[in-house]
């Protein structure tokens, strides 16, 4: 029951009351975390929320660069969502990209060929969806920094790939949700890559440790920045929101600073 209730994250993303059209339709969401505070749980929550029975037309195409399906299946099962069943229903497509990290074929040496065929796979998957679901696909990438590794360090290939995913958001109304780590982009060259991604982004979710240091009951804070608020008519007026969170075994608690001791 608890997870059905409206939480602060859903509210900040505008997922609250309206599910049709899907509020994240055509938008790009970036979850940014750091070593001290992992943002994976946001991805899990969004995955669960996207596949929930409230929005039966949604489909998820999951590009896993960091963990295999069994890992996500275990976590999502605890959250009350059966990924294997969803996959059989044709609502969840899992692309195991762990192998892309060490491509065997010669033409994929530079990583570029791999991304082109990956994009083709995504496009064909969306094309093959039933008519009702075509405009409700969500592409999720679980670790953008590992994409760069897959591209053998060429951030340009990653940006090309992201650009093509972005064209899917505007042409077919897909949404794109990615996770990235902030603290590995410190030098100028690498910073430019991250900034370039940020210019694509409509919603930025930042997971950080508390500014005041460690606390037993608070695991960190989330800041949701809705940059893309100008592009969507009648979107929520929450342009920016900040709240604390506590990750529990089968749910996450969100609360405003100061409302919990």
């Amino acid at each position: 029951m608890e997870n059905r209730a409206l939480n602060l994250l859903d509210e900040a993303l505008g997922l609250g009351y309206q599910t049709d059209p899907w509020p994240l339709r055509g938008r790009v969401v970036l979850i940014e975390d750091c070593v001290e505070t992992s943002g994976c749980f946001v991805l899990h929550q969004l995955l669960k929320r996207t596949l929930s029975s409230q929005s039966p037309n949604n489909t998820v195409i999951f590009l896993a660069f960091s963990h295999p399906l069994s890992h996500y299946d275990r976590i999502l099962r605890k959250l009350g969502c059966n990924l294997v069943a969803q996959r059989e229903n044709g609502r969840f497509f899992f692309f195991d990209m762990l192998k892309l990290l060490c491509p065997d074929e010669k033409e994929e040496r530079n990583g570029k060929g791999g991304f082109i065929s990956l994009y083709w796979k995504i496009q064909n998957t969306i094309r093959a969806l039933p008519e009702n679901n075509k405009n409700h696909a969500t592409i999720m990438i679980d670790d953008m920094s590992l994409m760069e590794v897959a591209a053998h360090g060429s951030s340009d290939h990653v940006l090309d790939f992201m650009h093509y995913c972005h064209t899917l958001t505007s042409e077919l109304g897909c949404s794109l949700i990615t996770l990235n780590h902030e603290d590995i982009y410190t030098s100028m060259e690498r910073l430019a890559f991250m900034l370039q991604i940020k210019y694509l982004v409509d919603v930025l979710i930042k997971a950080e440790p508390l500014a005041t240091g460690l606390a037993a009951d608070v695991h960190g804070q989330l800041t949701v920045l809705n940059w893309g608020f100008c592009n969507v008519k009648g979107s929520s007026n929450n342009k920016i929101s900040n709240f604390h969170f506590k990750v529990k075994e089968n749910s996450v608690e969100y609360f405003y600073p100061g409302t919990r001791t």
């Binding site: 077919l172 940020k198 210019y199």
Partner: protein, 379 residues
């Protein structure tokens, strides 16, 4: 100075001169460059439609948004895109910049592109790395609008960053410079996210332009990105608002810098200049003043108080009898003086008006008047 920016583009180029070029640049702290870009675009479009501008048509080189986005944008602002007179063309470098989709189509898996705009408005460029081809495509589209004659057209490029990602700085600068020098191009403007490149790249592009409009956050934070998020209220103030600094470079080398604030309307992403808004102007003025230890500005209360002060002889000529204080208290004055002395001087401050209290030491002293003191004597 959004308006004069648009006017510069509207007026176009003189015979034998390079076309005026506008760089719109922004940074992640205030990423509203695209809003400025679309404002300029729609202004220029309405000028073209009303035949008020030198250019007769516009070619949009779309790198970061789809052609249908631009068609929607212009329609939303009440600009007739499908008018009988053909005036707009979009070079689509967004949908398939590297030909991936084309290759997929070639392999037999055709994708229906039902969401695309009618092809008479846009044309897809499948290889953005080839800037020579891009140049000739821009010219081809422009000439398709205005013909081969003397008529001119404008060019809008929505992301130079994408160009710089696919090609080197000298080739991109070469393309822009070639476009500027082309005799049929009336004006050109482009958008640049300046923090994605080194300073030298940004300045190289600024040298190419006659007007540089840079979007800056209203409130600068000293710290890095992390500091930004820690200071949430600052960040909130910077959302939807900003400062636009426009640098005009005249032909004779004179440079004029104008500051202006703007805010973006939430409902229809309008770009509104708020030069009249006092707070903003004060803020900008203050940033222009040299840093001094003491306060040179008057507060609002001080300004009102100053306005209330009646200067000597100021009342003269407005119908009231002219009083010139002669140092002797008149009868009425001595009455008020009597009440005053009984209730103490503190009351005097409540009247809100200043008064000079002066007692003549002796009758020998000359009164403060230029009339003859012995005038009434009957000698």
């Amino acid at each position: 100075m959004a308006e004069s920016m648009c006017r510069t583009l509207r007026d176009g180029s003189l015979e034998g001169e390079q076309a005026p070029a506008l760089t719109i640049k922004d940074i992640t702290a205030s990423p509203f460059g695209f809003h400025v870009f679309s404002h300029v675009l729609s202004q220029l479009s309405s000028f073209i439609l009303a035949s008020k501008s030198q250019s007769r048509g516009i070619v949009i080189v779309a790198f970061s948004r789809s052609p249908s986005f631009y068609v929607d944008l212009l329609k939303r602002r009440g600009i007739d895109v499908n008018s009988s007179h053909k005036w707009i063309q979009i070079l689509d470098c967004y949908s398939d910049p590297l030909g991936w989709k084309y290759q997929l189509m070639g392999s037999g898996n055709c994708m229906d592109v039902s969401h695309e705009t009618p092809s008479n408005l846009s044309r897809v460029c499948k290889d953005v790395k080839d800037l020579d081809k891009l140049y000739s495509m821009i010219l081809e589209l422009g000439k398709g609008l205005v013909g081969q004659g003397k008529d001119r057209f404008s060019v809008a490029i929505d992301s130079v960053n994408e160009m710089l990602r696919h090609a080197s700085t000298p080739t991109v600068a070469g393309l822009l410079s070639n476009l500027r020098s082309h005799e049929q191009i009336s004006s050109i403007f482009w958008l640049l996210h300046s923090d994605l490149h080194e300073v030298k790249v940004t300045s190289a592009l600024e040298y190419l332009s006659s007007v540089v409009a840079s979007v800056e956050p209203l409130h600068q934070t000293a710290g890095g990105k992390r500091g930004d998020l820690e200071n949430l209220s600052l960040l909130e103030q910077n959302i939807g608002k900003g400062k636009l600094q426009v640098r005009f470079k005249r032909r004779n080398g004179r440079v004029r810098v104008v500051n202006e604030g703007f805010h973006i309307d939430q409902s229809n992403s309008n770009f509104t200049s708020v030069l009249s808004e006092d707070g903003l102007v004060n803020q900008i003025n203050q940033s222009l003043l040299p840093k001094v230890q003491f306060d040179l500005e008057l507060s609002e209360k001080e300004r009102i108080d100053r306005a209330k002060v009646v200067l000597p002889f100021e009342h003269q000529g407005n119908g009231e009898p002219i009083h010139i204080y002669d140092g002797r208290r008149s009868l009425t004055e001595s009455k008020t003086e009597a009440t005053l002395s009984s209730s103490g001087n503190s009351q005097k401050t409540d009247s809100g008006e200043g008064e000079i209290i002066y007692f003549r030491d002796s009758d020998d002293e000359m009164p403060d008047s230029d009339e003859d003191p012995d005038d009434d004597l009957d000698i």
